[in-house]
C-alpha cells in the first residue's frame, strides 16, 4: 500500500520518539521557519565548536513528516562539520525533490533514505525540508555573526 511506502517505520519511530527535541543553551545560531501553506513551524538552534556541530535543539509544531525529518536531521549532523552537514542536506534535497526519480545516496543519508517515499508527494516536500531549511539558516546566521566580528567596519 502506498501509505506504508511513504510512512516508513523509521519515520513513525522518529515521530513518536523524536531525538534531541526541545530548545537548549548554549547555542550559536537560531532560526524560525514556517510553512505558509499549512502553518507548521519550527524554531531550531545550532551550537558549534569551531566547524563542528555539537548540538541541534528545536521546538516544532507540525506533521509526522516534518517532525521526523527534523529528528533524523539531528542524528545526521551532530558531531560532523558544517561542510559535511550541508552536503548531506544537498543529497537530501536532491532526493526529496526528485519525484522518486533519483536513487538516494544511502551512505550519505543513512536513516533519511526513509523519506524517499515522500518525494512522490510534491505537497509534502516542504514538510520534509522545514527543519533542514532552519538548520541551513541557523548555520548561516552563525557565519554572518562571525564575519561581522572579524571584518573591519569600513570593509563591509
Amino acid at each position: 500500500m502506498q501509505l506504508e511506502q511513504m510512512y516508513q517505520e523509521i519515520i513513525l519511530d522518529h515521530y513518536r520518539n523524536p531525538h534531541r527535541r526541545g530548545l537548549r543553551e548554549p547555542y550559536d545560531g537560531e532560526s524560525f521557519q514556517v510553512n505558509p501553506t499549512c502553518g507548521d513551524e519550527v524554531t531550531l538552534r545550532v551550537a558549534l565548536d569551531g566547524d563542528t556541530v555539537t548540538d541541534v535543539s528545536y521546538d516544532a509544531m507540525g506533521c509526522s513528516i516534518s517532525q521526523a525529518a527534523t529528528s533524523v536531521l539531528t542524528d545526521l549532523v551532530v558531531g560532523r562539520t558544517v561542510g559535511d552537514s550541508l552536503s548531506t542536506m544537498d543529497s537530501f534535497v536532491e532526493m526529496i525533490q526528485s519525484r522518486g526519480e533519483v536513487e538516494p545516496d544511502e551512505d550519505a543519508l543513512s536513516d533519511a533514505v526513509a523519506f524517499a517515499g515522500v518525494a512522490k508527494y510534491p505537497a509534502r516536500v516542504k514538510c520534509a525540508l522545514l527543519g533542514w531549511m532552519a538548520f541551513k539558516d541557523a548555520v548561516g546566521r552563525v557565519r554572518e555573526d562571525d564575519s561581522d566580528a572579524e571584518q573591519p567596519v569600513e570593509a563591509r
Binding site: 502506498q2 510512512y7 502553518g39
Partner: protein, 430 residues
C-alpha cells in the same frame, strides 16, 4: 442564444443526486490505487458540469469576439452573451445587472473596493464617503478568509486608518459583544459563511449596526452563493463578492456586487480601455458602472460559463441544493462527533451553519490525516484554509476540512468518517 439552450437542465421534481453526478465527468474517475474519487473540497473549488463546459465551448466556437467594442456580428453576439450572463447571475442573487462588476475572482473584487476607497482621497467631493484617513476604522471579523483581511490591513497601512475586528466564541460563533462600532467606522467587512467552520453570522444584525453609525458593509459571499438561496437586495449589504469557480463555474471570473448609487459615486481602480467616457491627452472621464470597473478586454467565455453554471443551479433549485447539503452536513457532524479524539472546530449543530466541516484528531496532525484520506480516494483540504488568524484563535496550526456541494453523496460522508478511523489506527492513537 444557443449557449443558453445547451445549459438548460431538465430536472425532475425530486432532487436526483445520481443524475446530477452524471453531469460531472470528473466524479467518476479513480485516484491513487484505483479508489473512486470522493471529492470533499468544493469549498476550495467546485467541479464543473458538462453544461458549463459545453457553453464555454459553444461560445468560443460560434460567437467569440472582444466585447463592448467593434460593430461586426460576432462582436454583437459576444457582447450579448456576456451581458446576458451578467443578467442571469444578477437574477440569482436578487440584484440588477448594473450592480454586478465582473472581476478575476472574489479576491480581486475585495481589492477593487479597497483601492477605490484609497483612490477616493484624491477623487473629488462625490467620493468623500469612501475616503478614509487616520482615526477612521475598518472592521472585519476573526473568522475571515485572508482575502477579506489582508486587503483591509493594506488599506489601513496606506491611509493610516485602524483595523479592528469582532472576535469568535469558543463554539465558533461571531462574538457580537467583542466590539462596538463607532462614528469613525467606515466599513464593516464580513463573511456570509466561514470557509473553515461553516458559521453563518447574523447578517441582518451586522448590517443594522453598521448603518447605525453610517458605515458601509461588504459581504464575502464566496461560501454562501453556491450553496443556497441568497438575496443580496433583502440582506441590505452595500457590497458583496463571490467567485465563479466555487459555484460550478470557471476560474478566472468573479463578481463584485455594489448598490447602484454607490458604484455610481465610486472612483475606478484599474483604468484603461473600455472603462472611459471621454479621453483627451490632458485627462479622461469615466463610463458609468459597471463598465467603469471593467478596464481592458474582459474574460468572456468565463462569464458565459458562469452564466451557464447559474442556469444549472437555478434549474436544480437553490432551496434543494441547500436542503441536500444540510443533510450531508448533519451526517458529517453526527459521524465525527462519535469518533473519540475528534474535535470539530466550529458549530456542532446545523443551525446557521453551512457545509464546511473542519476538525482535528488528537495525536494525528491534519496533514497526516489528509494523507490517509487521500490514500482512500478522499480529497479533503488540510492546513489553515487561508484563515490563519482563526486557527491561531483556536490554538491550532491546521485542520482537516470537508466541504460539500450538491453532487456529494451520504456514502461519501461515511467514507470520510471511515478515513478518520483509519487515520487513528494507522498512527496508533486508539
Amino acid at each position: 442564444m444557443s449557449a443558453r439552450a445547451v445549459a438548460a437542465y431538465d430536472v425532475e421534481q425530486a432532487f436526483d443526486v445520481e443524475k446530477i453526478r452524471g453531469d460531472f465527468a470528473i466524479l467518476s474517475r479513480t485516484v491513487r490505487e484505483g479508489r473512486p474519487l470522493v471529492y470533499l473540497d468544493s469549498g476550495a473549488t467546485s467541479q464543473r458540469p458538462r453544461q458549463v463546459l459545453d457553453a464555454e465551448r459553444a461560445f468560443l466556437e460560434q460567437h467569440n469576439a472582444a466585447v463592448h467594442r467593434g460593430a461586426h456580428q460576432l462582436a454583437e453576439e459576444a457582447t450579448d452573451a456576456y451581458e446576458s450572463a451578467r443578467s442571469r447571475i444578477a437574477a440569482l442573487i436578487g440584484a440588477t445587472p448594473g450592480e454586478l462588476v465582473f472581476t478575476k475572482n472574489a479576491t480581486e473584487g475585495v481589492n477593487l473596493l479597497a483601492y477605490a476607497m484609497s483612490n477616493s482621497a484624491t477623487a473629488g467631493s462625490e467620493c468623500e464617503r469612501f475616503a478614509l484617513g487616520p482615526g477612521d476604522e475598518i472592521v472585519v471579523t476573526e473568522m475571515e478568509h485572508h482575502a477579506n483581511l489582508v486587503p483591509w490591513q493594506e488599506l489601513c497601512r496606506r491611509t493610516g486608518a485602524t483595523l479592528r475586528w469582532y472576535g469568535v466564541t469558543e463554539d465558533g460563533r461571531l462574538d457580537l459583544d467583542s466590539l462596538q462600532l463607532s462614528e469613525r467606522t467606515k466599513l464593516v467587512a464580513f463573511t456570509h459563511q466561514s470557509n473553515v467552520m461553516g458559521t453563518v453570522p447574523p447578517v441582518a444584525e451586522l448590517v443594522r449596526r453598521a448603518r447605525e453609525v453610517g458605515a458601509l458593509t461588504l459581504l464575502d459571499a464566496c461560501q454562501s452563493v453556491p450553496h443556497g438561496p441568497v438575496d443580496l437586495g433583502s440582506l441590505g449589504v452595500d457590497f458583496a463578492v463571490f467567485s465563479g469557480h466555487k459555484m460550478l463555474g470557471p476560474s478566472g471570473i468573479g463578481v463584485l456586487y455594489g448598490r447602484r448609487e454607490l458604484l455610481e459615486a465610486m472612483p475606478p481602480f484599474l483604468t484603461g480601455g473600455s472603462m472611459i467616457e471621454l479621453v483627451r491627452m490632458e485627462g479622461s472621464s469615466y463610463a458609468p458602472p459597471p463598465q467603469r470597473f471593467e478596464a481592458g478586454v474582459p474574460m468572456t467565455s468565463q462569464a458565459v460559463g458562469l452564466g451557464a453554471a447559474v442556469d444549472y443551479l437555478s434549474a436544480v433549485g437553490m432551496d434543494r441544493v441547500a436542503a441536500h447539503e444540510r443533510a450531508l452536513t448533519e451526517r458529517a457532524l453526527a459521524g465525527l462527533s462519535e469518533v473519540d479524539g475528534v474535535r470539530i472546530i466550529g458549530p456542532t449543530d446545523s443551525e446557521h451553519r453551512g457545509g464546511a466541516v473542519s476538525f482535528v484528531i488528537d495525536g494525528v496532525h491534519a496533514h497526516d490525516a489528509g494523507q490517509v484520506l487521500d490514500s482512500l480516494g478522499v480529497a479533503a483540504r488540510v492546513g489553515h484554509h487561508c484563515a490563519w488568524p482563526l486557527h491561531r484563535r483556536f490554538g491550532i496550526a491546521a485542520t482537516v476540512r470537508a466541504s460539500f456541494a450538491l453532487y456529494n453523496l451520504e456514502s461519501e460522508v461515511d467514507t470520510l468518517i471511515d478515513g478518520v478511523h483509519e487515520s487513528k489506527r494507522f498512527f496508533g492513537v486508539g
